[in-house]
């Protein structure tokens, strides 16, 4: 079973977690000032990289908290996890 490191609880089995989509997608401060295309980009368009991806996870059947992870979308390897609100760790865009 895939083991995921919750920043609060430590190493836990993947079935306790839920995926939460790409991390660090900030809601625009003034949506009314945006074009439809810009708003659509915020709502729907994600980077979908082949390689390292910063993404949200929730330890739903554990501490309940959302946190962020950097995962390699090719190997499913979790490079690191960190608490929500912390900046994306300085790790390259691909490879390990």
């Amino acid at each position: 079973m895939l083991i995921i490191n919750c920043p609060w609880c430590g190493a836990r089995p993947e079935i306790e977690f839920r995926y939460g989509g790409e991390a660090h997608v900030a809601r625009p401060a003034d949506p009314a000032a945006m074009s439809d295309q810009e708003w659509a980009d915020f709502l729907y368009n994600r980077t979908n990289p082949k390689g390292l991806h910063a993404e949200r996870w929730r330890h739903i059947h554990g501490c309940g908290r959302y946190f962020n992870a950097v995962r390699d979308t090719v190997s499913d390897f979790f490079v690191t996890t960190y608490k929500a609100g912390e900046p994306r760790p300085d790790i390259g865009e691909s490879g390990q």
């Binding site: 079973m1 609060w8 430590g10 089995p13 079935i15 554990g62 501490c63 309940g64 908290r65």
Partner: protein
């Protein structure tokens, strides 16, 4: 969490009455439905955490997945701002009032969830083995020592699992899931009969 005898509140045992009556005695993994317990869900930040712990009589643990115990009461860490408070007896009202008074003016949430769940006890030399049939956590004493409590899964049901002694675990499960968890535990311990 708290061992009391079933007395006043028939609802406390209701989902498991028939199942518990028909269970087999298996010494290596005894299965018991425990009596009514007062359960309060507390959420809050720094100032309220301290006050709630003082009113409850048990400091709220700040370490992940730990349980503090004093005078038959337990405070379980469930999340960085979330605890469950357990006290003997079926009437949470006085306790609820005491904590609410102590935390007046401090942002927090306190909810009486006594009737939401029931607690099962799995005890015996094979207790961890039986629980591991439906739970993937490392239940060795090193990784899951006495005093550990955590939300997790048993098969497809969410539970709060606590290690009370090296060979005694409490499984707190939402009422409507209790028969499912009970029967999966029965299935797991069948080979030990």
């Amino acid at each position: 969490m708290v061992e009391t005898t079933a007395t006043a509140e028939p609802l406390a045992h209701y989902p498991l009455d028939a199942l518990a009556a028909g269970t087999r005695a298996i010494g290596a993994a005894r299965l018991t439905a425990l009596g009514p317990v007062s359960r309060l869900a507390f959420r809050g930040r720094e100032a309220a955490i301290q006050a709630a712990g003082e009113a409850f009589g048990v400091a709220l643990p700040r370490e992940a997945n730990r349980r503090n115990t004093a005078n038959g009461r337990h405070a379980l860490w469930l999340g960085p701002d979330e605890w469950i408070l357990l006290a003997p007896g079926a009437d949470p009202a006085p306790l609820f009032a005491a904590i609410e008074t102590a935390t007046t003016g401090l942002p927090h949430s306190l909810v009486d969830v006594s009737a939401r769940s029931v607690t099962l006890e799995v005890a015996g030399s094979k207790a961890a083995y039986v629980l591991n049939q439906g739970n993937p956590l490392d239940l060795s004493l090193d990784a899951f020592p006495v005093g550990t409590s955590t939300r997790t899964l048993f098969h497809k049901a969410e539970i709060v699992l606590s290690r009370i002694t090296p060979d005694t675990f409490h499984v707190d499960v939402w009422r409507s899931f209790a028969p499912y968890v009970w029967e999966m535990l029965e299935d797991a311990r069948r080979e030990l009969a």
